[in-house]
C-alpha cells in the first residue's frame, strides 16, 4: 500500500491499516527500543507505547517526512523519557542484555543459524558468537546518544538524512558523533578481533 494511502486510512482510524502499520514498522521499532534499553520486557512495553502514541498523534502527521522517520522520532523520544524514568527508579542499575534477555531474544535459536551459515568452522563460530556478545555488551555500554546513532546507522542502515531528521541534529553533527561512537566501539572490541 502506498504510504499516503496508509496514512489517510490511519487517520480514519482504520483497524486494518493500523495492523498493517504495526506489522510493517513493529520489528524495526522493537529492535531499536530493545537495543536502547537492553531489556526485553521494558522494550516490549515501550514498543507498544510507541505505537499507542503513533496512533494518538497520527492526525498531526502532515507528511513532511516519511512515515517511518516520524515513527522513529516518536520511538526515540519514548526511549529518552524511559531512560530518565529508569535512571530515577534505579532499575537501570542491572547489567543490560543479560543472559536471560539474550535467550529470550532467541539468540541461541534462529539468529544463530544465520551466523552459522556465514561461518563454517566451529571455532570460527565460537569467535563469531563471542564477538557478537561483546558487541552487544559494548553497544549497551555506549552513552545514549552514541548508542542511538550506532543502532540507526550501522545496525539498521538508515541514511544520514533520515537520522538527522529523527534526531533533529545537523547531518555533520550526526556524522562526527557517529564516528566517535564507532572509534569507541572499535577500541573496546579490539581484543575480540
Amino acid at each position: 500500500m502506498r504510504e499516503s494511502r496508509l496514512v489517510s486510512r490511519l487517520q480514519e482510524r482504520d483497524e486494518a491499516a493500523f495492523r498493517e502499520m504495526v506489522r510493517t514498522y513493529g520489528q524495526r521499532v522493537y529492535n531499536l527500543v530493545f537495543r536502547m534499553l537492553g531489556n526485553r520486557e521494558e522494550a516490549e512495553d515501550l514498543a507498544q507505547e510507541v505505537f499507542v502514541t503513533v496512533f494518538k498523534s497520527i492526525d498531526g502527521f502532515r507528511g513532511d517526512s516519511k512515515l517511518s522517520t516520524w515513527i522513529y522520532r516518536i520511538a526515540v523520544n519514548h526511549c529518552k523519557n524511559r531512560h530518565k524514568y529508569l535512571a530515577r527508579r534505579m532499575v537501570h542499575a542491572r547489567a543490560p542484555l543479560d543472559a536471560a534477555d539474550r535467550d529470550a531474544a532467541g539468540r541461541d535459536g534462529g539468529p544463530t543459524m544465520a551466523l552459522q551459515a556465514q561461518i563454517s568452522q566451529p571455532d570460527k563460530l565460537l569467535e563469531g558468537l563471542q564477538l557478537e556478545e561483546a558487541l552487544q555488551r559494548e553497544i549497551a555500554a555506549l552513552d545514549e546518544e552514541q548508542r542511538l546513532l550506532i543502532v540507526l546507522r550501522d545496525v539498521q542502515g538508515l541514511s544520514y538524512q533520515e537520522i538527522a531528521s529523527i534526531t533533529a541534529l545537523p547531518e555533520g553533527t550526526v556524522k562526527s558523533r557517529l564516528h566517535r561512537a564507532r572509534m569507541t566501539l572499535k577500541d573496546r572490541l579490539q581484543k575480540f578481533m
Binding site: R19, V22, G106, P111
Partner: protein
C-alpha cells in the same frame, strides 16, 4: 596528515565523503603506515559486525497486544470513527429493514386475504368516509 588526522577521517574515507584530495592524502598515508592500516582494518571489522547483528524478532502477538492496549486505554473508543460511521448505522439500517419487511409482509397479507375471501365490507366503510 598525521595518524590522528587520518583516523579522524576513517568514516568519511570508507563512505567516500571526503574531497578528492583528502581522500588521496588518507590513501597515501595508509599506504605507508602499518599502524593506521591495522586501525582501519579493525574499524572496518567493527562496522561489518554491527551490520551483521541478527535482528531480534518482535515479541509474539505484538500487533494484537498493541491493539489491545489501545482499546483498553480508550475503553474501546479508539477505533470509534469506523464503528460509529459503519457499525452502528448498520444496526439501525437492519432494524429499519426488518420493520419495513414486516410492514410489507402485513400489507401483502392484507392484500392477499381480500382476494381469497369474498369481497369485503370495505366498500361500505369507504362510502361512509366522504360524509
Amino acid at each position: 596528515m598525521d595518524h590522528e588526522a587520518v583516523q579522524e577521517r576513517f568514516s568519511d574515507y570508507l563512505e567516500s565523503e571526503l574531497p578528492p584530495e583528502e581522500q588521496a592524502e588518507v590513501a597515501a598515508h595508509l599506504e605507508s603506515c602499518e599502524a593506521c592500516r591495522n586501525e582501519l582494518l579493525a574499524f572496518r571489522q567493527t562496522l561489518r559486525s554491527l551490520a551483521q547483528l541478527p535482528p531480534i524478532p518482535a515479541p509474539e502477538g505484538f500487533v494484537g497486544k498493541v491493539q489491545q492496549r489501545i482499546n483498553k486505554r480508550s475503553r474501546g473508543r479508539f477505533f470509534r470513527a469506523e464503528r460509529l460511521f459503519f457499525r452502528v448505522p448498520f444496526e439501525w439500517i437492519s432494524f429499519v429493514i426488518i420493520i419495513l419487511m414486516l410492514a410489507l409482509y402485513i400489507l401483502l397479507m392484507q392484500e392477499v386475504r381480500p382476494l381469497a375471501t369474498p369481497p369485503p365490507k370495505k366498500a361500505p366503510v369507504e362510502k361512509k368516509l366522504p360524509r
